[in-house]
């Protein structure tokens, strides 16, 4: 609980926080005289603060009597929680920067694109990267990979895992010189061991599995990412009753959302692209229809721009829409070679640390969210929306949007 929820006058609260007493546990660990000296207030005031702190920590432990509804939080607390949430790096630092540091935990992220654009590659990369140990700036978690299409190829996972281990070794070697960090003991085989792979062959199996996930993850608390490749496949054959399909899908989406919040894990749903018939012409859109598009918190669209692969943030409550290029190499997802060379693999690891480390990191998701309402961005959004369908935008407008917005996103991260 945060110190500044204490019912204090604003001047004392300000002094308290600027002296570094941000949390109640910090306050309650000192004596009133120490507190008075550190915060530069009278001892009576310090005593009062300690009394309040004790009271409110007591009340928050006895089931939150302060909140009107059980489980309700204020936005400030949630912001702090969000800042402290780790993100899963994509191994492509350009992509990480538009995502605010990587795929965020507690969220459902949908990634869609044409066949061969690299959806499965991103899925595999994330299931490997979630296991990067904490010492290297990762999550040290495990992954669940739900394969509905049969595209999960173990030889490819092994290849990406080997590259990831090599990068980590290089990184710890680099760390040794500076911090005397522990040697990372991770082998490609361990990485494969920590991916729970489910092969789903029909939509009934898919629904059953999603219902089972809660129990499975309760038993395997280390799971930090759930990847579904793809959510779509079994739902695109003839469903006579489209209403029923919509209901089943939104129920599934809700369950994923619950899992993400309950276990603080990232859910990544890969989606296909389809043509949509509107106003006499065919347009490109992510599959499963309009109601589905409300189901995910974040939506990333992958597309070709010339000979380069690009990712575009189509929907996100906290990130500005931006696009970044990436490539798929034999070692996995990486920065596009033509983009600036500023980020080596090493740097992307250190960057991951600064996101996860609590103190020196300014909240990127929050501030980029504020920034996205800058007039320039809004005008470009509006222009897009008015001229062409939202779904077609990344393919057609990408070039123009990207020039404006990548620059703003990257300047924030740096």
């Amino acid at each position: 609980m945060e110190a500044w929820r204490l019912p204090l006058s604003s001047s004392i609260r300000g002094k308290l926080i600027s002296a570094g007493y941000a949390s109640l546990s910090l306050i309650s660990s000192v004596s009133s005289s120490d507190l008075a000296r550190d915060v530069n207030i009278t001892e009576e005031e310090a005593f009062e603060i300690l009394r309040l702190a004790k009271q409110s920590s007591g009340s928050s432990s006895c089931n939150g009597s302060r909140s009107l509804i059980n489980g309700a939080k204020n936005a400030w607390d949630m912001l702090h929680e969000e800042e402290s949430l780790p993100r899963i790096t994509t191994s492509c630092s350009d992509l990480d920067s538009i995502l605010g540091g990587g795929i965020s935990c507690r969220d459902v992220t949908e990634i869609g694109g044409v066949p061969g654009i690299g959806k499965t590659q991103i899925g595999i990369q994330l299931s490997v990267n979630v296991q990067i140990p904490r010492e290297c700036g990762g999550l040290g978690g495990k992954a669940i990979y739900i394969d509905t299409e049969g595209s999960f190829m173990v030889e490819r996972v092994l290849q990406i895992a080997e590259a990831c281990v090599e990068d980590m070794e290089e990184y710890t070697g680099y760390m040794h010189k500076h911090f005397q960090a522990n040697q990372v003991q991770m082998k490609p085989k361990d990485i494969l061991d920590n991916i729970f792979y489910f092969r789903v062959c029909s939509y009934t199996e898919q629904i059953a599995l999603v219902n089972h996930l809660d129990k499975f993850i309760s038993e395997n608390k280390d799971v930090k990412v759930v990847i579904v490749d793809s959510i779509t496949f079994h739902f695109r054959q003839d469903f006579d009753d489209l209403v029923q399909r919509t209901r089943v899908l939104s129920e599934m989406a809700l369950k994923f959302m619950k899992l993400a919040k309950k276990f603080s894990l990232a859910v990544v749903l890969l989606n296909q692209v389809t043509t949509k018939y509107t106003e006499g012409s065919f347009q490109l859109a992510l599959a499963l229809g309009d109601s589905w598009s409300h189901s995910c918190t974040n939506r990333v669209i992958l597309y070709w721009n010339g000979d380069e692969r690009y990712a575009y943030i189509d929907k996100s409550p906290s990130l500005p829409s931006a696009s970044a290029s990436y490539t798929v190499t034999s070692r996995g997802l990486r920065n596009s070679s033509s983009s600036s060379k500023r980020c080596s693999h090493k740097l992307s690891f250190t960057r991951a640390i600064s996101h996860n480390g609590s103190e020196n990191c300014v909240s990127i998701p929050a501030f980029s969210g504020l920034r996205s309402t800058s007039p320039r961005t809004i005008s470009s959004r509006r222009r897009n929306a008015s001229t062409i369908s939202r779904s077609l935008r990344p393919l057609v407008r990408a070039a123009t949007v990207e020039t404006i917005e990548t620059s703003s996103a990257s300047s924030l991260v740096d």
Partner: protein, 304 residues
């Protein structure tokens, strides 16, 4: 569902045994990292006369090779919707196949064609009629090699005549694609089969909606015989396959060779035109290409 739960490591152990089907050509295998993958649907896209049927015939013979030779030690089922089936060419290939593998066919009477089962398919409904029976066909393999390869040559022929270009028909068509693909993937997963599907091409027409020019995969444009083309059946079908390979004829060869009219007639032997196989997309292969020729003995890659 509980049975489906496994760790990829278990899969890896299974895959080291052998999960790739050789194409019968070392160079081509190298390009494809061992050949056609099992438990996966591979599509071969090409205009007629490029050699997709040749490649499929060769694969259906190779499936019976022992695992030590890159085969799957299994039989193959060839579903053909393009008529007539090139029996004479299969026979010719099997003859040279027999000769080039003397260690396996010690007995002169062994015929490689014994392990290739051929079934004609003349409509989508017919295909749906056949597919459920494949389960029984695999299970009932006491006296022969287990089924390890299904070839569908070609999927486009099933759809090209029956459906109109109206939105409702297109919708119905694409839901059928997913149904076919789901069933084939189920079979592939259940019995660890390799599934190979061929597809035709359409000429690329610069149309107003601009979607037929949508880029899918590693190649920006697909060219064959000097024309820009697009795989048939569109985007929906592209979502149904795991890997897509594209075979094209090289431009300079069309002047010399105009006999592409009847690709299935086995009498026109050993065309020397150069053909190229490109990997359009695949979850385990990088973008790559390989040139090959079709000889009397079958497909034979040319070292770059």
């Amino acid at each position: 569902m509980q049975n489906g739960k496994m760790k990829p490591e278990n899969l890896l152990r299974r895959s080291t045994a052998n999960r790739k089907l050789t194409t019968g050509c070392e160079i081509l295998d190298e390009c494809l990292r061992g050949g056609i993958s099992c438990d996966s649907v591979t599509e071969i896209v090409a205009e007629s006369g490029c050699g997709k049927t040749q490649l499929c015939l060769q694969l259906s013979l190779c499936a019976q090779l022992p695992i030590s030779h890159g085969g799957l030690n299994g039989s193959s089922l060839y579903l053909h919707s393009e008529f007539p089936f090139p029996f004479r060419r299969l026979h010719q290939l099997s003859h040279s196949f027999h000769q080039s593998n003397p260690s396996i066919y010690a007995n002169h009477n062994d015929n490689p064609c014994d392990h290739v089962f051929v079934q004609n398919v003349h409509s989508v409904d017919h295909l749906f009629d056949i597919m459920p029976r494949i389960d029984g066909f695999v299970g009932n393999s006491k006296n022969r090699l287990p089924l390890k390869l299904i070839v569908l040559d070609s999927v486009a022929a099933l759809f090209r005549s029956e459906f109109d270009n109206t939105p409702s028909d297109l919708k119905k068509r694409s839901s059928l694609f997913f149904k076919i693909s789901e069933k084939l993937k189920q079979l592939a997963n259940k019995f660890d089969l390799a599934v190979v599907i061929t597809n035709q091409v359409t000429d690329f027409v610069e149309s107003s909606d601009g979607l037929s020019g949508l880029r899918i995969g590693n190649l920006r444009y697909l060219y064959s015989s000097g024309r820009r083309i697009a795989p048939a059946l569109g985007l929906a079908w592209a979502n149904c396959v795991n890997s897509r390979f594209f075979i094209s004829r090289s431009d300079d060869s069309i002047g010399k060779d105009r006999s592409e009219k009847d690709e299935s007639s086995s009498s026109s032997v050993s065309r020397r035109a150069q053909r190229r196989l490109d990997i359009v997309f695949s979850p385990y292969l990088p973008g790559n290409s390989c040139e090959f020729m079709i000889t009397r003995e079958g497909i034979c890659a040319v070292q770059a």
